[in-house]
Symmetry: D2
């Protein structure tokens, strides 16, 4: 037997969305249509799950003759693949989890387009409308379950982390899994894979057959962070802001592992929300944790938060170093608090309707040079608003580092310019320097060329 | 213990649609909203499943203090009922099938409203668009299954039939069920219940735990024909034409039992379609059957079809008298033909895309006095067009007999006037007289007052 | 297609016992072996499920060229049938329930032989040992379930009952099923089938997919009372006494419908046990019920019980005429009493260990002319002992009526002679006369020739 | 919260054997009974799953106040534990897999005792009888599944292996799992855990929810090699010979990783069988594999086999170094060969009836000083007989190393004396020296004191 590095295959789905209407198939099949492009790109990201690259351009180039078509057959639709990456196959047969994810992509793209003309339709939507949209997207993806108690732990952290950090994320996942908790991450390697792997083994020990490993991604990031194959629920949210809202509304608590700019963005997002006065009494278990070697890292983050957002922000989380059992116990106990609160307020277990998310965190931020320049990084405003703009600053850096559009902008116009208070920017810059120094900005191997420039006023 | 004839209850669903967005709940909860009215009316029809009345007005009057509200709770939404008919309960606890159907109603009403502004939105829709809408409604109701072979037998026939006719429908259902076929009917008593009951026992004998008893109804008819509790998949289609299209696209073959005007409408619908030249080679097993005592009835129908639509129309079905085993064998063999055809044409097993339905059969026909008067009941046109207008004539009579709106029209303006060829109308009139004579127009007990008048030219 | 009245088939099982050791296959395959005979006989009874005969000899004669062999194959054993009755098949394919029962027979015969050399091994066994044997036989048949509450209603009554009685048993079964109760009977037609059929429909309405229809039979009776195809758990107990013990230990309450000698035997069995002082406080819901037309029948029984066993015996049951809802409510409430008692005494839900069964009711009684003559039918002994011998008297009559061995004895030696108190026998005789008169001794069509003679002293 | 290192708990089972008869409970509950001792010992081994010790005496000593009792309750039996090792619990709640295994122990001990008076009953049993006993034990443990194709890969190898060897066993398990193969090992750490862990992750990727991780152990070894918690089917075979027979009859192919005396015993067992002329054409995929660093080890084994058993023995297996994909492909292909053979010979997929196992490999060998001295380790006999006695020699060494009885013998009487051909013993001794040198005889940390002495003649 000879196994090639490109595979042609006709694959059938397992679940429900195999039934497409003729209209839907038509929309996906016209190669000129915008749906086809998006589908083609996301599908390739899924199939390329075994790859170590986080450079989407390179991936597109490598597999430029990859093709995917939807075919109608008597038992439902199938996907016809040509020149697909062989890493998605075992001896020529597609790995089931990859197959499942391919159809998740199909489902989300069709539903999103069908329901919301997202490109334009939600531009002026109210905060409430946006929250309902996130709800409907997750519901359509069958993310919601009937549960006896909150159990979904979101794990954030870098895709490019050191071996000992990765091993630690597995241990934390294992302890969470032993306590019958489930895992939600952003899909991808590193801190997004380790907790799921640990939990999968723990769930096997606990004979839990319906453990959930939920991956939330978006079209811009999926190419750089292919879902790892443990993910058994995958949702492609239409943009980064809806993905973040999905994390905090579908998750019941968050564990943050070491990471880079993306992780910082996520930290600022959740802190900005929790700092809003309306959320003062909403319980939201939040732990920062890492192995002993990462203690310094969290020291730096903690200091930065104290400096720019203040002590109240620091009170919203707990830092635990090298103690996976304690992390798991804190989260398990936190689930109890969330349970009591939701019951008392008749809020759904599966969706945190009560959490107030200010509009600043909901509307898509497109990181262009102009938009980045306009960010308001000054003290003397409400902390949740400062957090919102700091979030956008980090978001821009992520885009400039790994997203196709962002990378293209940087190539054309040079680094983003981040303006603001001298003091504040100094703190920011030194944090970013530390990230670079610790190789948290890119997968190792490549020297990091910054995509931003700090401009004090 | 004392059991009242009115019950208050808080009921939880089992399935997936328990998760409603806040927007959706709001739309259902405002008592002034149009969704609330529709929901309230359909819910009452479901709960009134034990009743023998087919007079929707009387039901509404009897339960005028019935109330239903959607309540958000931590594990999903619940329904709060007040003064519900006790026939839906056993010792104060709601029967599971009724509970399931209540939530089916909720699902269909929300989805339909959400997707299509049906009141106005589909008025000018193309035939293709309407077919896709029917598909999406059925898909959302999870009617589609992955099957190895076509197996869904639609059973049509009257809700008001004699005991020996009813027993025969059970026997046919039993033989179909023994052959692992499933049953789809229009919901309600009589010929719509018997085949399901027979099949349920047969499925138990064959250890089939996932037997399907699919009920297709619509808001206008549901109050007069409450779903019988064997129905385990219930779909509320938005109007009679989409319901008919659902029958012929989701079903794989049809068995017609004796019935009244509604059954005649259905016969003309399927014949009109099968007579269209584009469907000449589409296999569609169609059997008319009844016990020995009903032989005359089919004789009359057969003669009427021959007289007005011709021999080709007669060639589309087979009449089998008092031989349930033969009926079941013919349908089983017919499934094989359908299978081969779908495979050869790569058409879906779960939806008959290839069947051409002329627009005349798709657009809603609202039976007003004016519209009825305009019907073109003349020879000398394409037979499928004549069938279309004959279908509408019978549809008007059903409306005038049992639908709330139709009954109101008749009350106000007197009987519908049906115009047309003298010869043709003579045949029609004598068929209708026979129905009246055989007590097929209304549930027994009430004398039938005709809602139509034949006006020859 | 032509369907014959004899079918050859190779059938595969679904469950676990398809895996036989080579030793086991050998024991079943030798046609001279005693296991083969028993298996052959029971298998034929199962396959003959559609028959209306209760004459085992006639059945054996009719299908004398029927053959069954166990075949080893790569996925387990299969059964090779030759000249099997076609009533077990639909269009040449075996009905699943029949297939399941065939393998139940196999399972019970092998296990029983393997564990207990029943012919001789249990002759001197203690009461406790026998109770453990019954437990192990039921456990091996996977009868025991983990349940939240007692729910198994035993229904006793005749296999030969009038149509209105049969319809009433269906109604009672329906009401029991609506209350989520399960049904256990002795397998066969009449009162053993009706309640299961009613419950099956009710379970469908309540969406109960794991409803239990437990049939307990024994090799001597199975040929005369083929299991009806609703039965989804079938156990062949080795003799009538173990079958009776299985009823009262695995069941949680008993409903008695009209019947003949067999039903009388069962009534005396349960009353004899409940009359034992050790069982004074054991709750055991027991209802005698029938339609209005059967009121006299229960009047007679009630009077007989009062006359021979006294008022205490009469206090152990309740008679309810033509009120299926009340029967079901009484049983449902009774389940609550049983629940509380078992919890308080840490007794298993699935097996009534606490019920004391005197040895007189456990050891097999073989109805020979000699044994029947020795029965002690006199007043002046403990009532439970008198009940024991009355039970044996009725058992003898059942044997003489329908069991192969008993029928043969009667043929050879004439009717059994029943000796005893004049008074007592007079009551007995008039009860039996009433049974004959009401056609409760045999299936209709044949005139009843008594197999007994009452001899007063 | 404070967590102790001893836990008291009342645990309920999930499966079927929760239903024990009163006799069975009695047998287990009398602390003086032999069943209690065996149960107590095995249960402790299960509970001590987190331990790193392979010294059963030490474990017994450490937990000498551990107690376990069977309690009858209304929903079945429960186990009452006192002073159980806390490693079996998470925050005071027993890990599900441990709970499952506890009840497996109960099941096997009761069944074995019930069916076979093993201490004495099988002493003179025929080879055929013993094979049937092994079959029945596995069947009772529900090991047999209905499968489409052979898929059970037995993995043998040391419990005390180096980190890189362990990582390699995980990789092999992962590749096997990706190919939908299942894993069977002897339970315990090292090479018995790695393949299961790898396969568990791979099964998650392939969405296989019913992956099987079968552990076969025996009372003498379980204390030293606690089942790892991935094991989801555990069977306690009564002795080492029946355990070995279970491996080769229930497994479809074998992968051998590096190990010590126990692994050598297993290699000689399978080679001895495959060398028997009757098995010449039975396909049995057999691969020896390890990482690059272990190449020498297999070199030594290969040479030893060639020297003492000859080239034919060498032809029975394939050595693959550091190529997990190749190992998996060879086994996958081997399954196809087994499939064809079983089909052609109508042999069961789940039990290899056709494999001939000479009696020498079936009867228990109790390693006393006398028996060891009598081993016939000379050339000039049939190779399968020489293999049989070599197997016994290694078995003795395992016993002397880690089994309670063996260790006690050595303590009392000094090392076993192994007699035989000078040449042969020289080869044997040098192989054993290599094992000692490579630390394969005991878990690291303790210096190895040999339990044997080679005595050339």
């Amino acid at each position: 037997m000879q196994y090639e590095d490109r595979v042609d295959a006709l694959v059938a789905p397992k679940g429900a969305l195999e039934m497409l209407s003729q209209n839907e198939i038509a929309r996906l099949s016209e190669e000129s249509g915008s749906l086809y492009d998006l589908f083609h790109r996301c599908a390739l990201a899924i199939l390329n799950c075994g790859s170590d690259s986080d450079d989407p351009e390179a991936v597109m180039e490598e597999f430029k003759d990859f093709d995917i078509q939807v075919i109608q057959q008597e038992r439902g639709v199938k996907l016809q693949l040509k020149n697909a990456p062989s890493s998605a196959f075992v001896d020529g047969k597609m790995i089931s989890s990859v197959r499942e994810m391919l159809f998740s992509v199909l489902r989300d793209i069709i539903f999103t387009e069908h329901e919301y003309n997202l490109a334009s339709g939600l531009e002026n939507a109210s905060s409430e409308k946006l929250t309902n949209v996130v709800f409907e997207l997750l519901r359509n993806a069958e993310v919601f379950r009937r549960i006896q108690s909150p159990d979904m732990i979101v794990c954030w952290g870098g895709h490019s982390i050191a071996r000992h950090e990765y091993d630690y994320t597995k241990k934390v996942g294992h302890e969470l899994g032993l306590r019958e908790l489930n895992i939600c991450t952003g899909c991808g390697p590193g801190a997004m894979k380790g907790p799921m792997k640990g939990a999968a083994i723990a769930h096997a020990k606990q004979r839990i057959k319906d453990g959930v490993y939920l991956g939330l991604t978006e079209p811009g990031i999926i190419a750089a962070e292919s879902p790892n194959p443990i993910v058994n629920q995958l949702v492609i949210m239409p943009d980064i802001e809806k993905r973040l809202e999905a994390f905090v509304r579908a998750g019941h608590g968050i564990v943050v592992f070491p990471g880079g700019a993306g992780t910082a963005e996520e930290i600022l997002y959740i802190l900005g929300i929790l700092l809003h006065p309306k959320n003062a009494d909403v319980p939201f278990p939040l732990v920062f944790t890492g192995p002993t070697e990462s203690a310094d890292y969290f020291e730096q983050i903690h200091a930065f938060i104290g400096d720019v957002l203040g002590a109240e922000a620091q009170s919203k989380y707990r830092i635990i170093i090298e103690d996976e059992v304690e992390v798991a116990r804190v989260m398990k106990q936190g689930m109890e608090d969330v349970l009591q609160y939701r019951k008392a307020h008749q809020d759904a277990f599966y969706y945190n309707w009560k959490l107030h998310i200010p509009e600043e965190f909901q509307h898509p931020f497109e990181p262009t040079h102009e938009k980045v320049r306009e960010l308001n990084l000054h003290f003397g405003q409400e902390t949740h608003l400062l957090a919102a703009d700091l979030r956008r600053a980090f978001s821009s850096i992520v885009a400039g580092n790994v997203k196709a559009q962002g990378v293209a902008y940087i190539k054309e116009f040079g680094p983003f310019e981040i303006h603001g208070d001298k003091d504040l920017l100094a703190k920011l810059d030194s944090l970013l320097q530390a990230f670079v120094h610790q190789q948290r900005m890119k997968l190792p191997g490549s020297a990091y060329v910054p995509c931003y420039r700090v401009v004090t006023e």
